[in-house]
Symmetry: C2
Subunit: 336 residues, 2 copies
Amino acid sequence: MHGSGRVKIVDVAAAAGVSATTVSHVISGRRPVSAATRARVEDAVRRLGYQADPSARGLRTQRTDTVGLVVPDITNPFNTELAAGIQAVAYARGLLTVVCEAPMTGGPQLPAVLGQLTARRLDGIVLGRFGARRADLDLIAGSGARLVRLGTRIADGPGDVVRGAETEGMRDLVRCLVGERGYRRIGFIGGEAGVEPGGERYEGYRQALAEAGRAVPEELVAWTGFTREGGRAGAALLLDAAEPPDAVVCANDLIAIGALDVARARGIDVPGRLAVTGYDDIDAASMVSPALTTVVNPAREIGRSAARLLVDRLDGDTGPAREVVLTHQVVRRASA
Amino acid sequence: MHGSGRVKIVDVAAAAGVSATTVSHVISGRRPVSAATRARVEDAVRRLGYQADPSARGLRTQRTDTVGLVVPDITNPFNTELAAGIQAVAYARGLLTVVCEAPMTGGPQLPAVLGQLTARRLDGIVLGRFGARRADLDLIAGSGARLVRLGTRIADGPGDVVRGAETEGMRDLVRCLVGERGYRRIGFIGGEAGVEPGGERYEGYRQALAEAGRAVPEELVAWTGFTREGGRAGAALLLDAAEPPDAVVCANDLIAIGALDVARARGIDVPGRLAVTGYDDIDAASMVSPALTTVVNPAREIGRSAARLLVDRLDGDTGPAREVVLTHQVVRRASA
DNA sequence: TCACGTATCCAAATCGTTTTGCATGACAGG
DNA sequence: CCTGTCATGCAAAACGATTTGGATACGTGA
């Protein structure tokens, strides 16, 4: 047991009988070092358990080897999977990942959290699915951090983009309901108004109805929040309508689970009297009963892609902004 | 829009007509500064949007204002809630939180992850529920980081401890099964052998049986893993026993959900022919059907407590090691 | 007037790396 | 033997903040 965190590069240099410069070169490989010296240095590093001080290194190199992920709700399993995907790729590159929550309501808001993060001089930031303002994006870009946005369009601002084929996914799902299943009155429960991917998914819902020559039943559309609680509120609203729906399309799985809560509480049979569908296919989607018909959104893969974009940029890629679109897939289960 | 991240303390000093020293003193408050100068400096900071470089500051102060949480499974909702609790307290103190996953099997193992974290010179580390070796704990303590361990005993090593009353919680739960419900053959599915809180919970199960004058039915005890998949494997094992159980007590909710999967697949009525119970009361516990009878483990509060301990230590508390024990509560739902 | 505190502010040293420009020695070609 | 090229390693200057020991000016009391 040595002094642990206390050994510095000059100690290693002394132990190996060389200068600190040489130790640095051995470690970074930026200049050639003879095999014999290299071996002595590497041995000394191992023996003393040397680990470079990240503050000192960061001060000199102007990099922190740290990337951040900002999401509106850290307990949403979609975001958790996302984080896991990012972390896997980042860790392999020696990057540390910090996940921050910037709740849509209550708690520190997005600009405040971004301020904290830019103050930290992160090398890169993945911005989760928000209704982010242009000023927020410019703040990140201006801080020098590479930016990857999730679930929006490339034209909306600086940085690269990763997104699922949200509109197409929802369209395919609603097509099933309209076509083979023959549901007549199909309602929609979105998340917070104006927050992606609510808009994209609503658009898919609208398109599928339009294809069948139907209009959106405005009185059966509710915008609440991307949570189980939001789903409860939205479902209550829709079911109290003068002419209630026989199917409810939800903007994500949590909302759908909330809708199921309401159906059960009111003794409404699902899918007999009411169909319910979700989006994302989080783990819980297959746990609830009836199991949710939903659309697979490959959260982990989205995270991996985002991290890869970030890593490429950090490795010097200065090409034009890129947009990665991941495929979707409808999963039919018992709820519709 | 200024150069953003680029403005440094001497720029602020110049703008305010003082020295960098004075700016530092205004910001830290470590030495008195006249009201007039303070106002000029604060104004300059605001106008230029100055944010101190964390690397430079860290190099000088030897602190990173960063704390870490290490968990075996980042997608387990218990751990997510934990992270949220820690982050809330840490954020309020200006500390950044990094959450790292060190899978029990596959992926980077605990010592490797801890190596990465100690290399980062974190100010504090919360170690999730692992079967951590003494050497791992000493590594953390030796790195200078404050340590808070979760779900173990204070005597097991350095650092403070936060834990739920695991043994008591499980004992109360199993008492219900034995007593009012009158289940005869009660099995147990644990997580990975030797990993807390599996042992504590098993102990509660054993005690409740002992109180009733019963021995543990060894052939109905399985140790798998704290996941849904682990639950499936364990349940299959128990149900294939010569004399199968009429109740299965699971070491956490994910395991219980896996057990429910098996019961459904085999057409076994729950709770009619088989009772299933969990532990932790994660969100999903009330989503599945039948809803899980389980024990509330206040994950978020555990996180908050852990972070508070850490913050106290960082603020100079050098008292003896502390142990915080949080209460439990049995929740009766449909599955038993 | 002198000695001495007090209130303000500043200059310079320091934290532990990385990086750049040189110095040295060896070696090859003429 | 002389001269240019490599290969190798070192010294010193950053990086941007914090902290310590003074310096300066102004009262205050004797």
